[in-house]
Amino acid sequence: MTPNSGTGTSATRRLGVLVIVLVISLALFGLQFSAEDVVQGSTVRIMYVHVPSIWTAYIAFFLTAVCSGVYLSRRQRSLAWDRVAGASAEIGVLFVAVSLVTGSLWGRLTWGTYWVWDARLTSTAFLFITYVGYLAVRRLDGTHRQRARRSSVMALLAVLEIPLVHFSVNLWRSLHQDASVADPNAKVKLDGLMLFSLFLGLVTFTLLFVWLVLHRQRTMLLEDSFADRGLDVAIAERRNEAGVQ
């Protein structure tokens, strides 16, 4: 692999190696070193991917909103902000989906049911479909600037759902438990290595997210400039891609 092929740089490659090391250590701590829970048994191990993935999704959607706000507020509107917003939202949708799936597996073992329509689960499902809609708006026909303006407005509105999702367990009674670490009463309710594993998960997933966003927004830049150059190049590229496969 030559250094300049694809969307990688030496910085992203170093970050990628770090992420791989962290993922391996997360698996060791989450699946091996940390203890079982007194009530849940080993089911608690699902938490080390479930909580970090929804945390990453929150960060992703927050970043989308910040970038959209910057895009709209600058006089010299730069599409780079829009691309970071789009990349971030796409990865956020991926992580909400992961969080919903792992959460329902955990729920089947602990609650005895995959899904209930309580405040937390309903609002999370709502967050998910909202951002699927956001990605659909980005795919609408139009210039890049139109895409950026439409999606920025939508991102700024959609991000308001995040506090609703996060505090839904405090506002209403739900089957889903309250937050254990980010508890308003500031009493951490996890024992030793469980807490460490959870934090390791948060760090790992956050860095993984950064790595993904860096690459995705670069492919988006390429997609945009190809669209600008016109169809003929894109067709040639398609043909080439099909030849490679």
Partner: protein, 231 residues
Amino acid sequence: MSSVKSRRTIVVAVARKDLSIEWNSRILTNQVAPFAAIVMVMFAFALDNEGILQRVAPGLMWLATLFSMLIVVQRSFTVESADGALDALRVAGVDTGAIFVGKSLALMVQLFVLEVLLLATAVVLYGVEMTAVGLLEAFVTMVVATAGLGCVGTLYGGLAAGAKGRETLLPLLLLPVVAPVLIGATRATEAAFGSGGTAVSEGWPWIGLLAVFAVIFAVAGTVAFGPLVDE
């Protein structure tokens, strides 16, 4: 101010134009309404089980409304983009906010007609029994929910108008946004129907939520319709 008056004439003219096109084509009465009724009947086939239909009648009624709404919105903008009518109005310097309000009103009228029909279907087909207050509540729910749906439908219909593959894109755009209306209107209608032992009084806060939704999208649509549909 004279501009307020002229804006009102534009609103009325646009709404009347849309409604008269619909009236002349008879698509709403000959195709969309039968479609919605068939959806309700199919639900009845699928869920023919003691007690279930009465319990889920409100949700089915609103689902059928949303499905029909996708068709109506699609039509409302196919008519515009087919002969470039929207562009003509814009080039003529007509206020886009007024176009938005006019088209929304036309959409609301059509949706309301559909909902009345669906409500009657639910009452007849699913054996729903309502008190007088419940009927009033169902009526208010329909008015407020329709206001919200009309605004959202026009805003997103305008966005998707002329886009490639809009037939499949519009549901993807529209359904996530109207999810709150589905929840709120279903809960309020449940209270009105008294399904599952709910009291009529439980529906009013949901109607409040629907009203908030309608106000947000009415304002946002009036302001943003021009810039979003433009260019």
